[in-house]
Symmetry: C2
Subunit: 376 residues, 2 copies
């Protein structure tokens, strides 16, 4: 790691976890390694290509570890993240959102020249034409994004998918390689049976889209999608041949509340933590910690208090810098460390430049989050 990177806020990077400046984003390396190995083993046993979504971690070191464990490459949500993963040595990248502006398309073509296997989704005929017009020598691999009913991205019908495949086939410079469908809304349905019912319904719809494409002469080689919440169901149903799950490496409060395995368990271990410190405690039973909106994304609600206060203690956001923890009868001493499980991992990671990687209470590494803020 470059010395220039070790700013003052990263001092005490060696030694005890307890001596770190707070708030600090931690990876519990033992739990992380178990998660990476478990998903890799499951994908292998299921004869499924694993392409973990790097929007969860935004970190080339983690992407390299996932590939070393058997992943075929990674997904990236945005072009900027893909550029960072490519710079970090990842040779196979799927960009899971459409790239539409002339500026971004020019960068996409450059990236396609730089790595062996770049793929990008699209859902629009004009966009297909713009991409084709920008290609230079090497063809660009294209997946058609199919909307499973979220109305976020993706073609809205089998007919639209076929029309788009015909357009792609007629354009020089584009190679149609498959389809993507991501059931984002279903990932966090807490009850397994309810989630399974919905995924069966959406997979039936997707089978129809694939049948229409196949009938028109565009049988998709790659059928990519799925997430941490639904991957066991996706494996059971057997429609996908490539899995995009990402959050399993860390888990977060939202996924910990889900019965992911169908056996009442999340299936993976909490590996992403925040250590914060009590900085004020002038009201009996309350402690103010140094973690607020700047330390955690708020779209997923409050974090879970794991230790340093009674486990499961209530947490209330108190603005940009602070959170209030209910300690019960006793007030905490100033400086007490409170450990939190994050509410929603992806946008929380987007607030930090580094992971502080720990085994037990020892800091063993710093991993740069190269993709942080690279949302364009």
């Amino acid at each position: 790691m470059d010395d220039r990177d070790l700013h003052a806020h990263l001092i005490n990077q060696q030694g005890s976890r307890k001596s770190l400046n707070t708030p600090v984003l931690l990876i519990d390396l033992d739990a992380f390694e178990r998660n990476v190995a478990a998903m890799a083993a499951l994908a292998k046993a299921s004869n499924l290509r694993l392409r973990p979504h790097a929007k969860t971690h935004k970190c080339a070191e983690i992407a390299r570890r996932q590939v070393a464990a058997g992943a075929v490459g990674v997904c990236c949500a945005k072009l900027g993240e893909a550029e960072e993963m490519a710079a970090g040595g990842i040779a196979s990248i799927l960009i899971t959102s459409p790239i539409v502006s002339p500026q971004a398309i020019a960068r996409l073509i450059k990236l396609n020249d730089r790595i062996p296997d770049l793929q990008v989704v699209l859902d629009n005929i004009d966009n297909a034409k713009a991409l084709a017009a920008a290609t230079t020598g090497k063809a660009l691999k294209i997946l058609i994004d199919v909307d499973p009913g979220i109305r976020r991205t993706g073609v809205a019908s089998a007919d639209a998918a076929v029309a788009l495949a015909q357009t792609i086939a007629a354009l020089p410079g584009l190679n149609f390689t498959g389809v993507q469908y991501y059931c984002g809304r279903q990932q966090h349905i807490e009850a397994y049976a309810e989630r399974r019912t919905e995924i069966i319904d959406r997979s039936d719809y997707m089978r129809g889209v694939i049948a229409a494409l196949t009938e028109a002469g565009f049988a998709p080689g790659i059928i990519t999608g799925g997430g941490t919440g639904t991957h066991r169901i996706d494996i059971e149903l057997g429609l996908l041949n490539e899995l995009q799950a990402g959050s399993y490496i860390f888990m977060d409060r939202q996924y910990n509340e889900c019965d992911i395995t169908g056996q009442g368990a999340p299936g993976y271990d909490t590996a992403l933590l925040i250590d914060a410190r009590v900085v004020s405690a002038n009201t009996p039973g309350l402690g103010t910690i140094d973690a607020g909106f700047k330390a955690m994304a708020t779209d997923g609600g409050p974090p879970t208090v794991l230790s340093g206060a009674p486990a499961g203690a209530a947490f209330h956001f108190m603005g940009d810098e602070h959170g209030l923890v209910l300690f019960g009868d006793a007030s905490p001493p100033i400086g007490e460390i409170v450990t939190l499980a994050v509410p929603h991992c992806d946008p929380t990671v987007n607030l930090y430049d580094f992971y502080h990687v720990v085994r037990g209470d020892t800091l063993v590494d710093l991993w740069r989050i190269e993709g942080r803020g690279r949302s364009r």
Copy 2:
């Protein structure tokens, strides 16, 4: 600006605003300059020291412009932000949250040696002792933080303030210089009269604390606090002699909904914008833009659509990368630029490395957000 800083995501930094990669955080320089000048003039006319809160912008260039316009220095919420402002040439900094860990206290003492005028708040006797024990040559200026009833930080009573002042006075290395009280909860009360009633009540309480301190021989020289929401009322009441307002430079949806002036107007102009692009539009009347949880903090609710779609069009967050805009009857073309006013400026700024500074539709500068992520 160092060439190393111009990553691929910052290409097209010259020329038209419309050619920028999106999502992009913009400062409307005309509006920004009006806001900076207006608050500086008001503070001067009111014989009030202006110490704008840099937690809003986290940017040394903006801090330097505020000082050039008459500010005595800036406030910082966290030590890491203060270190960045000091590195950027700001000579007078007040840290508005307690600094408690041994590691952070060591950094604080170093910072005190580095700049002419560092001040820090505290609210705890043990913390006062720890700070005193760490000072080396130069004394550390201390303000007592008084809780106006938020229960976030601050002493909880006049008696506690006096006891703390006595402790500070008895310790070598600490100079008691004043008090801070920040009525955070009241800043966003939309109706002026209701906000005024509450601030009158809280100011009466604070007068009692100041009287108790004065009677005990600790008359505070500095009485610092206030914010964009209450500063007109603070000026009317005359209790503060230093004003910490920060958000006035940018404004955001939350403050735009407040009658800040008492005359039905926010009083400052919207100067912080996000340009995003439509990346998908397969459902009539809907457009998906490339701005979600990674582009805007969500604690303040949705952003306001200003242009590119019908003004005031509804916005729904669609996950980490995307937002859905309701366009009404027509569907937007792919690539259409949609301009948003941010919901809550401080944590939104914390997501970006640079401001793209525009006059009208021309990009005129890039300002680094040095304090982004420096929350420890």
